[in-house]
Structures are given as C-alpha cells and as structure tokens.
Amino acid sequence: MKTVAIEKGTSLTELYRSLGGDYPKFFKMDIQCKLGYLLVEKLLQDAPDRFVPRKDVAVLVFSRSGSLADDKAFAATLDTFPSPAHFVYTLPNTVCGEIAIRNRFMGETRSYVLDSFDPEILGELVLEAFLDEESSSVIAIWADAPSEEEWEARAWLFTAQDLMPAHHCCHHGEGGCHHGEGHHEGGCCHGEGHGEGSCCHGEGHGEGQHEGCCHHKGE
C-alpha cells in the first residue's frame, strides 16, 4: 500500500512542474481536480506502463466539500454571464474524470461525500470496490477543498494483496471481506483480532485487537 499527501499551502503549480508538467489541461482544472490529479501523479510516479489504457484500477474520490470552491466561483458568474468552464467542474466526480483521462483508466470511478474523514467508512468503501471483478487495485483519494487555499489532500493505492494476501474469504461467499474474528494477515474489514497490513491513516502501531475497516501495522 502506498500513500501520498499534499500539504496545505503547497504551490500546486510548482508541484505540477516538479512532477514533469507537460499537461496544460491542468491549468483549467478546479482546485479539487488539481489536487486529485497531483496526488495520482505522485502515487504513480514510478509506476510501470503508465498511460496504457486499463480497466483494473478503480478510482474513488472522497470529500466533504465536494466541488464547493468551484460551486462558489460558478455562482459568482450567475448574475452576469454563467461560465461553462466553471460549471463543468461543479461536480466532485470530475476529479475522477480528469484522473481517468490523464491515466487512461477505463475501469470504475466513483465519487463520495462523507461528513468527515472517517477511516472506517473509507475502508469499507475501498473494500467494496474490490467486489467489482475487474478491479485489482484501488486508488482512494481524500481531497477536501472548501476553498482555493484550504484543503486536505491524501491518496492511497491499494492492491488486492493489501487486503487479502492469502485467500479470499467472505461471510457471504463473494468477494473478499472478513467478518470474522481471530488471526489473519493482510486485509480485514470489520474484523477483530491481530493483524498486519495497511492502514488508511498511513501510520499505525500496536498489536492486539483492533476493530474497524483498516488494519493497523502490527509490531
């Protein structure tokens, strides 16, 4: 599992250039799309076969604010000349669209709004994304930008190995999701018990019992 972040206050233009640039469309994007785009650029910097069209990478975008920053920018044009370039970005799922176009991802893309950054719910939804038979990895993005200056931006790349290394096992006979108790390695959703693996927070420690959707790195 890989994780990246973009700290608030980072110059996105400088970051864009430091990651290679060469994608002028970047400058048309709203703040949420820019963050999503850059997070994936960081995540996949050294990935082999980038830009080869594929259907096996699911992209999930989460936020609380959705496209709020652009909503306000568009609303400001309503009294005079409503701007089409702003309107197209007044949807949080255009983050998925821009990422899909850039990376040639023709698999599943989803956009969710959550009341707060909740690792348990995020983890559930990531796990459920693996229930699509064609998805063998999931890029999860938390890109919450209520304005051009304020944001939280993190992303994770999960592969099926992160969640279910040894076997698929599911309470209901499909997909992979543990609902059980006991010892298990790798991915576990909603379980209890000891485990290793990846954690949505990108950090974690401690052994022992843990509940919720993301396993914590054991020690």
Partner: protein, 86 residues
C-alpha cells in the same frame, strides 16, 4: 486591428487558463482547435462564446458557428471588429 489582436490573445490566455502561454507564443493564423493548434476543445468554444458577449456585445446563438468564428486569432479579430457592439 493590432491592438484588438493583442487584446484577444491576452483574453484568450486568461479566460481559457492557458497558463504557460504568452501572447508571443500564439501565432495569429494558427488553428486554435485540434492537435496542431492550441488544442482547445468544446468547453473552450462555449467559454469563448461567453467572452464575445461579455466583452464585445456579440451574441452567437449557435455553438456550431463558434468553430468557424474561432478558427484562428486572425479570423476571430476580423469577426469581432465587424460585429462588436461594445
């Protein structure tokens, strides 16, 4: 016309977020659309239609007209000079 061409180049760069371009980079006769040109797309046409009305009082009802009017800066400048009401 020189002034208008310069003005249009600046407005184009601003309104279409062509951040890494300067007016000097834009060839007056180069196609604006398509891969050989500035690579503008259908949303850009719509945004330019808004610009025509907002800044020059020209109403283009049909986006289909847009592609012809925005063929190049030169064509656009010609059209604006002829039809502007502002």
């Amino acid at each position: 016309m020189e002034e208008l061409i310069k003005e249009l180049k600046i407005k184009l760069i601003e309104s279409l977020n062509l951040e890494e371009m300067t007016p000097e980079d834009i060839d007056v006769n180069a196609p604006l659309f398509g891969d050989e040109g500035l690579g503008l797309d259908s949303i850009d046409v719509l945004e330019l239609i808004v610009l025509l009305e907002k800044d020059y009082g020209i109403r283009l009802a049909n986006p289909a007209e847009g592609k012809a009017v925005f063929a190049s800066i030169a064509v656009m400048a010609d059209y604006v000079a002829k039809h502007r009401t502002k």
